[in-house]
């Protein structure tokens, strides 16, 4: 609309951009660390062991359910890797869907729909109905991981607006 008085990059939009960038850098970093753990096995076993230990609280790291790189299993299983890569993809696509305007989380139906494949796959494996190949675990993880950035960014941005000076005054100049 012509004559929009709002500046292009308001404080809130800057905060959204900053959180988005943090999410992108963090998730890409996690993927790289996951790959670094097996890559460093021969060259630096101590550092490699530390990387595996960092991811140990989050993942069972069962070698039979991990992709392999350089002859060794990654630091996380196929499903966790899928979630992480899905998070990266979701973060990259976020500006296309929401730009950097005030973020809001997806609706309940969208979350339940996207969570259905991974929930069914996990339940089926845990209850012993089937044992999914690693590709299926990875794919369901990617799908679920792709919706998570919308929640993460909206929550972190809402927290950031509680910091004094971040929140913009409403239009009209009211305090």
């Amino acid at each position: 609309m012509r004559g929009d008085p709002r500046p292009v990059m308001t404080k809130e939009r800057r905060a959204v951009f900053a959180v988005w960038l943090l999410a992108l850098v963090g998730s890409v970093g996690l993927v790289l660390l996951t790959l670094a753990a097996p890559a460093l096995r021969s060259r630096s076993p101590g550092l490699s062991a530390l990387l595996y230990a960092v991811f140990a609280p989050l993942c069972h790291q069962d070698p039979g359910r991990c992709f392999h790189y350089a002859g060794y299993p990654l630091a996380v299983c196929g499903r966790c890797l899928g979630i992480d890569i899905g998070f990266v993809l979701g973060t990259l696509l976020y500006p296309l869907a929401r730009r950097f305007s005030r973020p809001f989380p997806p609706g309940v139906r969208a979350f339940l729909l996207i969570s259905l494949p991974v929930s069914m796959d996990v339940a089926g494996n845990v209850l012993g109905f089937w044992s999914s190949p690693i590709g299926v675990r990875f794919a369901t993880g990617v799908l679920w991981g792709a919706i998570l950035p919308a929640y993460f960014i909206s929550g972190m941005c809402e927290l950031a607006t509680r910091i004094p000076g971040i929140r913009n005054p409403p239009p009209g100049g009211a305090a």
Binding site: R41, S42, P45, G46, A49, A53, V54, P57, L58, C59, H60, Q61, D62, P63, G64, H68, G71, Y72, P73, V76, C77, R79, C80, I83, F104, P105, P106, V108, F111, V122, V126, L148, Y151, F152, S154, G155, M156, C157, E158, L159, T161, R162
Partner: protein
């Protein structure tokens, strides 16, 4: 409008304790980070129950992060008496790893032996710090999801008399 927000500590402790116990038990931790997300969602649900107003995403992030930190503490404390069992599970995991890997670095066996040598206070606190940082991030995510799912309250009709 006077927004009285309930305290986040109790829901965070309850959700975190549940997540920490489940993720600390050797044969139940196969669900990876889902326990932490589930515990944080539980914390958000409990917070929403106590809250007279709708939860914001930031409320969920806060209670979720605290739940994640609580889970890390509980998980680490549970790990002390269960260290022997976890070591046996880990040894079996490495034996399976040897079936896939071309060569197992000799350092892994020494690391396993060192892990079974005894409790180290320094390693305990380093592990706790790392775990708390990771669980806090994952927990924040779970809390945001929980606030989105459970945190909305119906708006009172316009002009309705509200008792003080």
């Amino acid at each position: 409008m006077n927004e009285q927000r309930p305290r986040v500590l109790t829901p965070a402790l309850v959700g975190g304790a549940a997540a920490g116990i489940l993720s600390g038990l050797p044969f139940l931790n196969c669900l990876c980070c889902f326990w932490i997300i589930g515990g944080s969602m539980l914390a958000a649900y409990l917070l929403a129950k106590e809250s007279p107003v709708s939860l914001k995403a930031g409320d969920g992030a806060l209670v979720g992060a605290l739940a994640g930190i609580s889970a890390a503490v509980v998980d680490s404390l549970i790990g002390i008496p269960l260290a022997g069992i976890k070591l046996a599970v880990m040894r079996r995991m490495f034996e399976r790893m040897a079936e896939f890997a071309n060569e197992m670095p000799s350092g892994w066996e020494a690391w396993l032996d060192r892990s079974g040598a005894g409790f180290s206070v320094a390693l305990f606190f380093i592990g706790l710090f790392l775990t708390a940082a990771i669980f806090a991030a994952v927990g924040a995510l779970g809390g945001i999801i929980g606030a989105s799912l459970f945190g909305r309250k119906p708006q009172p009709p316009q002009g309705a008399n509200v008792a003080p």
